[in-house]
Symmetry: C2
Amino acid sequence: MTAPARKRNTWQREAVRSALGADDGFVSAQGLHSTLRESGSPIGLATVYRALAELATEGEADSLQSPEGESLYRACTPGQHHHHLICRNCGLTVEIEADAVERWAQSVASEHGFTQPHHVVDVFGLCAACSRAR
Amino acid sequence: MTAPARKRNTWQREAVRSALGADDGFVSAQGLHSTLRESGSPIGLATVYRALAELATEGEADSLQSPEGESLYRACTPGQHHHHLICRNCGLTVEIEADAVERWAQSVASEHGFTQPHHVVDVFGLCAACSRAR
DNA sequence: TGTACTATTGATAACGAATCTCATTACCGT
DNA sequence: ACGGTAATGAGATTCGTTATCAATAGTACA
């Protein structure tokens, strides 16, 4: 066999993980990068993009596309599938469990002969605080 | 009062509308533009973008973000709100009525104090034909 | 502890979708 | 017809994201 090819632990990856966990809303890669830089970290932008993509595929982070097409990330409670209720003003996010929607997506797909269904279900709105502030 | 400021009808807008209606899946602005060019039309890219955006706001077209972040458009049956079941291989699309999901989104939002809820609900999968072809 | 191997980083270039600019075109009420 | 002006389109521009590649720094092993 060939060499092992192991994954390495770097402070950069850890910095991204912790910065993501410190924010309770969805953040863009660019935003997270400036946050880190402002707090003194010399981390590079490309690295932030790479780390976020990796965290997302490993299931440690949720990702979604903002209505403007930007990719946003958020640390998530690992394990099962869940959706989000997101304030389009301040970014506040609430995780939503929705077994009913889960089952609905499954059945709608198979009813039409579709396989390997993957659904996108997110609700954008104004949170209580932002609603009041208008 | 000032001048009237009316909207004008151009063959370009009509070309986009008809090309959109001729396709039964979701299409990108760029894709629609090349289709039109290939069929001999000298229409410009910026115009296609403008026409699609306008059709979307007028309710004549549905738009959504592909998982890659690209904006996709599709002629839709005007009137009420609906969702989509989309083949991620060939683009085949089925419109879905989902009053249940509609109500669910509303109630989840208000339960958490959110106002002006707007939801994104789409199911991606492999249609029957594409499933078979694997 | 030192050393070699190579995964990872990061500055920057490259890319691509979408928007903006502005001179030209052509729709449409008169 | 004519004229005011909405609409067009080629190209430049913006901006998010990915690719490049030399330099750096984890990690296994002697």
